[in-house]
Every structure is written in C-alpha cells, then in structure tokens.
C-alpha cells in the first residue's frame, strides 16, 4: 500500500509539471516501462500535388527481450510475440525452457490501389518504405537452421493468415515463394519472399490489425479510421513490420498509409479560383471523425504535417520562410513545434514538419490546411520511373518488358554526368506456368541494343521448375546517369496447366506479381535539425534511416488458354460412343446369317411383317434399291448419334 501511495503522489507531482508545460512528453511511470514494453502513435499528414492528401499512421510497440516473451505481456500483443519466439517444448512444470526467436525480420503489407510514383513522390521515405505492390506482400528473414526455414515459413504463413483473416496461407506452397539473394541488401539465404497480387484488402484485414494496438480504435489516433472514408481513398496500404534482435527485443511497427481526396470546401472569397486552388482540408473533413485525446497507453501521440521542399522553396520565394500562416496557405491550429530538415546541399530548400501534440483535451484537435492561392508543385521523383508491360499477342507466347524512363528531375546527377554511373537492381518473380527463356534477355539503352556484359554487373537466375519453383531473376544493371531510357525484354511461353491447377475464374487471366526496381546508391534518408525530443519520435527516426529508393512496377495480367472444363466428360462420351458402335457392328457381322435371313424374308415375304421391319424396309427400299445391312447400319449410326446427343 505504501508503494501505491508513493506512486500516486509521484503522479500528482507529474500532473503539475504537465500542466505547466505541455511540452513535457515524458509522462513518467508508464505502464509496461519497467517490463520493457512501450507504445507510441503518430500521424503524418502531407498535401500531395494532385489535390490529394497523404495520411500515414505509424504505431510502434516495443518489447524488450525477456524470458517471458510470448507468455506474459502488458502492452505488446501476445500473438505477435508468440509468432516471433520459438515454441520450444515445455518442461514438466509447463514453463518454456529454451527461448529463442525464430524470425529476425518480417514485413507484411496489404495494399489496395497503386502508388502513383509520378505525383506522390518516388524518393522520399514514405514512398520508399510504404509504397507497396497491390495485394499481399510478405517477406521474412529467419534465425533458424537452413533446413528448418521452409517449415518455419509455412507455419508463419498459416499463423498470419489466421491472424489477419486473409489467404496468406497460399504462400505456403513452394511455387509461390522464393529466396532472393541480394535484392534486399543482404547477401543471405535465410530470407523468403512471396506475394499474392490478387488478394483483396478490406475491413476484415484491418480489424485484426487494429486488435494488435492496445487501444484498438477506441481511443487515440486510430479513432480516425472511419472505414467508409479510408476505403474510399485512392491508395490504402496497411503494413506490419517486425524486427527482433537479442539486444533490443521486438519492435513492431504498424503503419497505415492512405491517400485521400479531400472534399472541396467552397470558399466564397475565391469562388472564381476554386477550380485551380488546392482543396482545403482538415482531419475532421477528411476522416469524418473528430480526434479527441490520445490513447492513454501511448508514450507519445503526435500529429505531423509535412510541407515538401518544393512548397517550402515557393514560400521562401514569397518571403515567408517556415511560417504556417502566410499568403499562400494557412495551417490551423498553431503547431507546437517546427522541425526542419537539414539538406546536404545548402543551396536547396528543405521540407518542414509541423508538430502537434495530441494530448487529452476536451476540444478536438482538428489539424488542417487552408489554401489561399492557386499553387502547383511537384513531388521529388526517383531518377527513373519503372514500368512493366506485356508484348506479343495470342495465347501461346509473349514477352515481358521492363522499362526505366529517366524523370530528368535530379539535378544532382545531371551536374556530374560524365563520371556518374547509375545502378539499378531488378527483382522479378514469375510463376512456373509462365516459362521465361532467360537467354532471350535483351537490354536496350536509349533504344539501342546493348551487349549484356557491358550493362549487367551481376545476375542471378533461378529457373522455374514445373509445379515446384517459381522463376526468379535478380539483375544489377549499371549505366551512365545521363541515359534517357533503359528497357529489358524477356520472352516466355505460356505453359499448360492441369485441370486442377486452374483457379476459379480462370478466364480472367493470371497475375504476375510486381517486379521490384531498387536504386542501391540512392537513399531516401532525411536528417532533421538535432532536437533531442525529435529522437523520441519513432516516425522521424524511421525517416532518418538509410532506405534505398525503390519502386514497384505494375502487376501483369497474362491471359492463358483455358480449357473447356466439361471436356473430360465430352471426351468420355464420344469415345465410348465410337467404341460402342464399332463393337455393335462387329458383333452383328459375326452373328448374323445373311443368307438365312434373306430366305426367311422371302418365305414370309409380304404376308407376315411387323410394323418396324416394314417401315425399315420401306425406308431402305426408298433410300437404295438394294437390300442388305449397309443402309441398316447407317440408319443405326444416325439413330445412336441422335440418341447420344439427346442423352448428353
């Protein structure tokens, strides 16, 4: 009880401190702290050039390493910890003796829509870490012996599909995942990568994802996730990233990146300019919800509004450096702090972050931007824009082309063009039924066919194996920075599938997962002016990491020859008919005594005839003058074919 009282007094003391300066973000003795578990929530808002707004939620839970991982938790989701830690056999008392983590790194993303690299940016941290291919993408690095990796991967896919109500378990089969060797920067064999491009993402995937947050969507920033408004957006990507090390324990980052179109708020003063002016927006207008208070369990809860460097440079031209209320735009309410980026090139302007602390208040925190003047800017691009398409026609063969078009945006490369050499890594996984002939690889630079050995610095090909392995191509290209376009083509044959291997709705075609193009000597890291408190922000720490600039290409839809699925029965019936006819005629030939029958007919002649034989004889006599078994046979054939036709 004494300890309890002390705790209370300490807490009151802290209250005073907090009310004196709201800036004090350290809230004292928080739950789980001494157990090594923490939770933070952050939201980044950013206006995009094409009249849309990016909202990026970042929730981070950490659990320090302890022998109880996977068994006793306070803030950290138990299910995730159980996923990471090896389920070692119990001893007699029921305690898990050997504790060993089996997954070192894991990233799972559910995406709907395609990231628009031209308009929404290609070289900033968000686009390099949160722009994901459509559908589900999962990769993980393991900390288990090589022979156990595949089993662990299979267990993992099943556990994840159960956790997130999705069909990740389709990644279990060896035809759907692969082992990249150097694309993810690590030259390791303990990584597995798989993608399901056709997986639909909806609320049933979001709800279990929210369950992993201590406050779910009951309090804090996650209350903004109004399902109709977020699924109406242009891009929706929910990601789960797990990192575990012996020293720092498990870090679980849950991010949700959405691109929304704010409703145009009519501004009477500028009614004429409404068409050209950027739409003004605020949190309540975009999400249709009000933000009141933070999740009490979160160590920090803040909202950041980012203005890109192209906006900032315009503001600087107009003479308002880092102000949030000027002739161009109005940011409301007043931010708590301004964080500026430090750029290695002093002559350029930098992006600015405005920080809001989301504390427990009674009036909602409604951050928003009001634009006053029409304004056009562009987002920072990656040096090359990657796209992929199919060539050829017909259902027999075709070719895949990947093209890299220079965006001519980066002055940096242009300036020292002569000695500059660009590197691009292409990673492409192709299902086994698309039989790629890797020897047909052709590379065109500025529409000129190149000698492969001049351009390719490193290549690794894993040819596909029927019903066992997908084909994997990893390629490092090196070319001068001044190049305008690079194109790769690969020919392929479309394979035949067994009838059981066709998915439902096979006529739609088959998806080839997105290819990944990375630029290993370009990084999207940002450096912010050294402010101690900014270090507390996991989101900004994430932005400061050295992430390689990358872009995902489109998903390809390959039309295949699809069989008539009732074919086996047709084949059976037709063959059987033919065989039965043959058998019947043969039997007749062997059995019948033609001479005797003729004699009988003659003796009976006209007086004693049944109805059917008389009709038959009439027909046969009309058809041909001669009697015999041939017309009878033909008639029988016609009859039996008719019979089968009706039966079928």
């Amino acid at each position: 009880m004494a300890a309890l009282c002390r705790r209370f007094t300490g807490f009151h003391f802290l209250l005073v401190l907090v009310s004196l300066s709201i800036s004090s973000l350290v809230f004292g003795d928080w739950i789980g702290d001494d157990e090594g578990e923490q939770f933070t929530e952050e939201l980044l808002l950013k206006p995009l050039p094409d009249r849309k707004v990016l909202a990026h939620f970042h929730f981070q839970s950490t659990a320090h390493p302890s022998p109880d991982s996977g068994h006793h938790h306070h803030l950290f989701p138990k299910a995730i910890a159980q996923l990471i830690w090896n389920r070692a056999p119990c001893d007699a008392v029921g305690h898990f003796m050997v504790q060993k983590f089996q997954i070192r790194d894991l990233e799972l993303s559910f995406t709907q829509g395609r990231w628009n690299y031209e308009n929404w940016g290609g070289s900033d941290p968000i686009s390099s870490t949160n722009a994901k291919p459509p559908g589900v993408e999962l990769w993980a690095t393991f900390n288990v012996p090589v022979v156990e990796i595949d089993t662990t991967w299979k267990n993992l896919t099943h556990a994840l599909s159960g956790l997130f109500c999705s069909s990740i378990n389709f990644l279990e089969s060896s035809t759907s995942y692969t082992t990249p060797s150097f694309v993810f920067g690590l030259n390791v064999s303990n990584i597995r990568y798989g993608a399901l491009p056709r997986e639909a993402v909806c609320t049933e995937n979001l709800t279990p994802w929210l369950k992993l947050l201590p406050c779910r969507d009951k309090a804090g920033l996650a209350t903004l996730l109004d399902r109709p408004s977020i699924y109406k957006g242009y891009y929706h990507s929910q990601k789960l990233r797990l990192t575990s090390t012996k020293l720092s324990g498990i870090i679980l980052e849950q991010t949700l990146t959405i691109v929304l179109q704010p409703n145009i708020q009519r501004n009477s003063a500028h009614s004429l300019l409404d068409g050209a002016i950027q739409p003004s927006w605020s949190i309540s207008s975009m999400f249709k919800r009000n933000l009141t208070g933070s999740c009490v369990l979160a160590r920090t809860s803040r909202i950041l509004v980012e203005l890109e460097k192209n906006i900032v440079s315009k503001l600087e031209e107009l003479g308002h450096g880092g102000s949030w209320s000027n002739s161009l735009l109005d940011l409301s309410p007043n931010p708590f702090r301004v964080i500026k980026e430090v750029n290695p090139f002093p002559e350029e302007s930098n992006s600015i972050l405005f920080e809001y602390v989301n504390s427990k208040e009674y009036e909602p925190l409604d951050v928003g931007i009001k634009w006053k003047l029409p304004f056009v800017w562009s987002s920072p691009h990656a040096p090359f824009h990657a796209s992929r398409f199919l060539m050829g026609s017909g259902t027999e063969r075709g070719s895949i082309a990947i093209s890299l078009q220079s965006t001519k945006s980066d002055e940096y490369f242009r300036s020292k063009s002569n000695e500059c050499r660009m590197q691009a890594v292409v990673f492409q996984v192709v299902p086994w039924y698309v039989k790629v002939y890797y020897h047909t690889l052709q590379i065109f630079i500025d529409q000129k066919l190149q000698n492969l050995s001049d351009v390719i610095e490193k290549i690794r090909v894993t040819p596909s194996e029927d019903k066992k392995l997908p084909g994997t191509l990893e390629l490092v290209l090196g070319y001068p920075c001044t190049v305008q376009s690079v194109a790769l083509t690969l020919d392929f044959d479309k394979g035949f599938l067994h009838i059981h291997e066709y998915p439902p709705d096979a006529n739609q075609g088959f998806d080839i997962p997105s290819a990944l193009v990375t630029f290993p000597n370009l990084h999207s890291s940002r450096i912010y002016i050294g402010d101690d408190s900014s270090v507390h922000s996991p989101l900004l720490l994430k932005f400061q990491e050295k992430n390689v600039v990358l872009s995902y290409t489109e998903v390809l839809l390959v039309p295949f020859t699809t069989p008539d699925f009732s074919m086996p029965y047709n084949v059976i019936t037709f063959t059987c008919t033919v065989l039965a006819l043959y058998f019947g005629s043969l039997l007749n030939v062997l059995r019948r005594r033609i001479g005797e029958e003729e004699r009988l007919m003659r003796s009976k002649d006209a007086n004693k005839r049944g109805l059917i034989p008389s009709i038959v004889s009439k027909i046969t006599s009309k058809l041909r003058g001669m009697p015999g078994s041939k017309p009878l046979l033909i008639f029988a054939v016609v009859l039996s074919v008719l019979f089968h036709y009706i039966v079928n």
């Binding site: 807490f11 306070h74 029921g94």
Partner: protein, 586 residues
C-alpha cells in the same frame, strides 16, 4: 476385318441364281451362338472383378479389438474403482484385540460397494516391525495436533503399507483415546484420515465408510454425480493440452489503468498446481493486459450498499465477446483448449461493482465461473471515486497482497473447473471435523479422484471417437483410408489397454497420462487430414462415366442374345421334328 468383309460380299451376291440352302439337320449349336453369348458371360464374370478394381485403398482398422474395448468400457467405472485399496490401522492402548475383532466382524458391512471390490486390509499393532511400532506410537502421541499427525502418518506406516500392497493405499487410522474434544475425524492431505476419540464400533464403521466412499472415492461429491456430467469438468483439449490464459481487463483506461506483476505470483502460486496436473494435461500459462473492454450488460445502482449491483441472472451477458479480444494465443492452435481467467477492473462509472447471488446476498469472492470457458473475477479498485477531471489517469500496479487474493480465487476457480469443490466448509454436516490443505491446491486423494475421473473420461471419449470413426468408415465403403490411420487406431487401443491395466493396479497418474495419449491418438486418427478431404466418388459419377459405353454395348449384346436364343429354339424344334420324322421313317 477384311475377311469379314469378304464374307459379307459373298453372302450378299444377289444376282447369282438362288440355291436353296441345306436344311439344318445338325444340332443348332454353332459358332455364332458362342460369339453372341460370349460377351454376356464374360461381362457377368468380370463384373465382380471390375467392382473390386474401383475399390479404394483401405487400411485394416482393428474393429474387433475396438468392439472388445468398448465392451470393457461399458463397465469402465467398475474397472477403475476395483483398484481402490484401503488399510485400516487401529491404534489402541491395550484393547487392540477387541478393536480388531470388531473390525473383522464389520467388514462385511463395508462391502456396500456391491460390485466394487474394495480390498481393505487390517494391520495389527503387533506387527514385527519395530519402526512401525515406533511410528505408530508417534501417531498416538501426536494426533492431538492435526498437522503433526499428518506428518507422522505421511511417513513410515503409509509407505510401508503402500509397498506391501504394490499400489497406493488409503489409510484410516483409528486412535482410541479419551479426548476432551470428543470424536475428531480429520482427512489428511495424503491418502489417509484418522479418527481420534472414544467411539463405538458401529460409529467407527459408518465413519470409515463415509470417508472412503464420499471423499476418497468420489472427491466429496455424491455417488454418481461425477459419472453424470462426465465431460463437463474435463476442460482439456482434444490434443491433451490446456492453455491457462489470464487477462487483466481495464474496462476504461481513461479512468485508471491497472497492471500486474503476473509472472512472479504465478511462479509461487500456479507452478505447484501445474505440476500436480501434469498427468492430466500439458498446461501452459499466459497473461496479458487488455484495455477498453467494457462488460456487455448494465448494472444498477443500489443505495443501500452504495455500490453497483450486477445480479446473477444477467451473468450470461457479462462476458463481452465483441470487445474482449481474449483469444489471441497462437500456442492454443488446433484442438487444444484455452481456459480464460479474467480479472475485470470496472470503470469509474460502475465502481464498485458487486455480484449479487440469487438469494440477495453479495458474492464473497465477487467472481463466477463458466464451465469449460473459465472464470471471471471482478476486482474493484480501492478508491472508486475516479477523478474525472484528471488529464491523465492513474496508472497503478496491483500490490502483491491484492494479487495473492486474486490468485487464491483463481485457484478455487480452477478446482471448480476441474470438477472438485472449491472447499469443504459446506460438508461439515457429514461429521468430518477438518480437511487439511496442500500447497499445490490439491490433496493427494483429490488428485487420485481427478486422475481416475480423467482416465475414465479419456477412455470413454477414446472409445466413442474410435466407434464413430469405425461407423464412418463402414458407412462410406469407397473412402480412402491411409495406413497411418490404422496405426494410430492400433496405438490408441494399446494405450487405452495400458491405462486400464494401470488403473486396476492403482497407479492412477500413469493411467491418466496413458489414457490421455489414447484419446489424443484416437482424435488424431479421426481428424486425419486424409479423412477430412474425403476422396469420395459417388455411384452417380461412375454411372455417368460408364453409361455412355455400356448402355449401347449392352443393347447390342442383349438384342443379339435374344435373337440367337429365339433362333436356337426354333431351329432346335425343327431339328427335333426332323429327328423324330427320321426315326419314324426308319
């Protein structure tokens, strides 16, 4: 083929002058008839073969043994209880002879168990072992204090008796002595009880009977009560494991947030419990703290007790399955069982929250259980007046004393979930003065009851599972059955037999664990993935495939056969007529 064409051509020569054919003066049994009847006969002959060819691979299941086992299991209770062995130890001053005579005389009455042959052996004080004599003297000396008497009995005599009979022996010691307290009956924490005081022989016999039947055999329940709700108090998953998931629910963290140091307390209080139950199930323990978890149903404010009252009637609506996301354990995948234990810290608007019993009283423990699901404890924060004007809620860790109280309720709930009484205070009318408690939460004789009960239930469910598997297999004759399933069934039966043997020897813990194994194997066989995805091809399917061939062929063959038979009759008649004519002519 060509030859046949040729034949046809020859016979169809119409323009040649017609020659009358020779009359059939032979017996009409020709090649053509053989040809016609050949396919019919062959088809009939090969029909059974082709039928067996469409049969599927089926492993041989040991149906006969299954039937045997199920026969045995009809009398499963009797089988299990025959192993019960008892010892009566009489300790007196000089009149031992009298007591022993009395004992022998009355054992007949103790055979109230009818079919259950409870063997009770009688030990005399005049046994040669000096150690025994010494220890019995100690018993005599120390039975005035219950705990010390327990120690004395737990030592040498019980062990020796156990060794003598080869199994576990239940002992009742009757100490004949003048005592101020009158007659005292104490049930110890091992497998014995003692009666101290001057007491008549009839009373001794009925007391001993009570102790044996009511407690040592049935665990404090009425006879047959355990057998009735057999599955209700076996919260063990089909794979023989249980996950005890403890959750601390903060209904509204904006009022207050409570946390606990679960691990430390669990090591002290739950570990002995888990250890004791190891033969019954693989038990693993997990804990978590959840937030924003309001209960489902509303309580009402009671002025008299100045608290919120939640009546027992509404209990089914207490657990809020929408908001309480308790089931987040990956360890409990598949067929294992999770028992949820929930500590519910109500929000400031409904604090203090009390449970009201149907008779209007307030529940002492403020908690309830739901069989096979788990238990809920409502824990009210000490200072209910939540200061709603705080910008930050207080964040408190439960003190060890509070946590210990909660754990005591957990243990009582666990005992009830496993089908034992939470305590024996209510049963004092039976004349038992005292029950001694054990650290693990279970006394040895209670554990024996549990083991027997579980062994019985496991064998029962093993047999029913295998029986339904057998029924399924027999009802679907075209189903594929892998060899592995046959093996699992075999091992399951072996384990079941072992469990029965152990039970009859009185080794209940190993009987429980092998019966568990039998059940797990039976379940594995039943839920084998190859059975789950039945490759069952219906008779319609066969019909659709074979019909297009066999129907037209059969038409031809049958028509030909009929025609040939007709002709044969006709020709035979002619031939017979010719023969008779010829005979006349001759």
């Amino acid at each position: 083929m060509l030859a046949f064409h040729g034949k046809i051509a020859i016979s169809q020569h119409p323009r040649e002058p017609f020659l009358p054919p020779p009359l059939p003066f032979r017996y009409p049994w020709t090649m053509r008839r053989i040809i016609t009847l050949d396919p019919d006969v062959k088809f009939m002959c090969t029909l059974p073969f082709s039928w067996t060819m469409t049969e599927k691979l089926r492993s041989k299941l040991l149906f006969e043994e299954l039937v045997l086992l199920s026969d045995i299991c009809l009398s499963i209770y009797e089988v299990i209880f025959t192993g019960l062995q008892g010892t009566l130890l009489l300790v007196g001053d000089d009149n031992i002879i009298f007591s022993s005579l009395m004992g022998i005389g009355k054992w007949g009455d103790l055979k109230f168990l009818n079919s259950m042959e409870t063997t009770l052996s009688l030990y005399y004080i005049s046994f040669p072992s000096t150690a025994r004599r010494r220890s019995i003297k100690r018993v005599h000396r120390e039975t005035s204090g219950d705990e010390r008497g327990e120690d004395a009995l737990g030592g040498a005599p019980a062990k020796e008796c156990a060794e003598a009979s080869g199994g576990r022996v239940y002992t009742v010691v009757v100490v004949e002595r003048e005592d101020d307290l009158g007659v005292r009956v104490v049930v110890g924490k091992h497998r014995h009880a003692w009666i101290v005081g001057k007491i008549s022989e009839n009373d001794v016999v009925s007391l001993i009977g009570k102790v044996f039947v009511k407690y040592f055999m049935n665990g404090g329940k009425k006879v047959g009560e355990l057998a009735k709700g057999i599955g209700e108090f076996v919260p063990v998953g089909a794979d023989g494991s249980v996950v005890l998931s403890f959750s601390l629910l903060n209904a509204d963290p904006s009022d207050w947030v409570y946390d606990w140091k679960f691990k430390e307390m669990s090591n002290i209080m739950l570990t002995p419990f888990v250890k004791a139950l190891t033969p019954i199930a693989n038990i693993s323990i997990e804990s978590q703290v959840l937030y924003h978890t309001p209960k489902l149903s509303q309580s009402y404010w009671d002025e008299k007790s100045s608290s919120h009252i939640f009546s027992i009637r509404d209990l089914p609506f207490f657990v809020n399955s929408n908001e309480w996301h308790l089931d987040t354990s990956i360890i409990a995948a598949g067929r294992s069982k999770v028992l949820q234990f929930v500590v519910y810290a109500p929000s400031a608007s409904e604090c203090p929250l009390l449970l009201q019993l149907p008779n209007g009283e307030i529940s002492m423990t403020n908690s309830f259980i739901s069989p096979m699901w788990g238990g809920v404890i409502i824990w009210n924060p000490p200072h209910c007046a939540g200061d709603s004007h705080n910008t930050l809620p207080p964040q408190v860790r439960l003190s060890p004393i509070e946590l210990q109280k909660i754990f005591q309720v957990f243990l009582a709930q666990l005992r009830m979930l496993f089908g034992l009484k939470s305590n024996y205070i209510d049963s004092s009318e039976t004349g038992i003065s005292k029950f001694l408690d054990s650290e693990s939460g279970f006394t040895e004789w209670e554990l024996d009851v549990l083991y027997r009960h579980h062994a019985c239930f496991n064998l029962h469910s093993c047999v029913t599972t295998l029986e339904s598997l057998a029924k399924l297999v027999q009802s679907l004759p075209r189903m594929i059955i892998m060899d592995e399933i046959g093996k699992q069934v075999k091992f399951s039966l072996e384990a079941a037999n072992l469990a029965q043997r152990n039970a009859s020897l009185g080794i209940y813990d190993s009987s429980a664990s092998s019966s568990r194994q039998a059940k797990v194997l039976a379940e594995d066989a039943f839920f084998h993935p190859s059975i789950m995805s039945i490759s069952y091809s219906s008779i319609e399917h066969y019909f659709a495939i074979y019909m297009p061939f066999f129907a037209p062929v059969a038409l031809h063959v049958l028509l030909a056969a009929i025609k040939e038979l007709k002709r044969y009759k006709r020709e035979r008649a002619k031939y017979l007529a010719f023969i008779s004519e010829k005979a006349k002519m001759d």
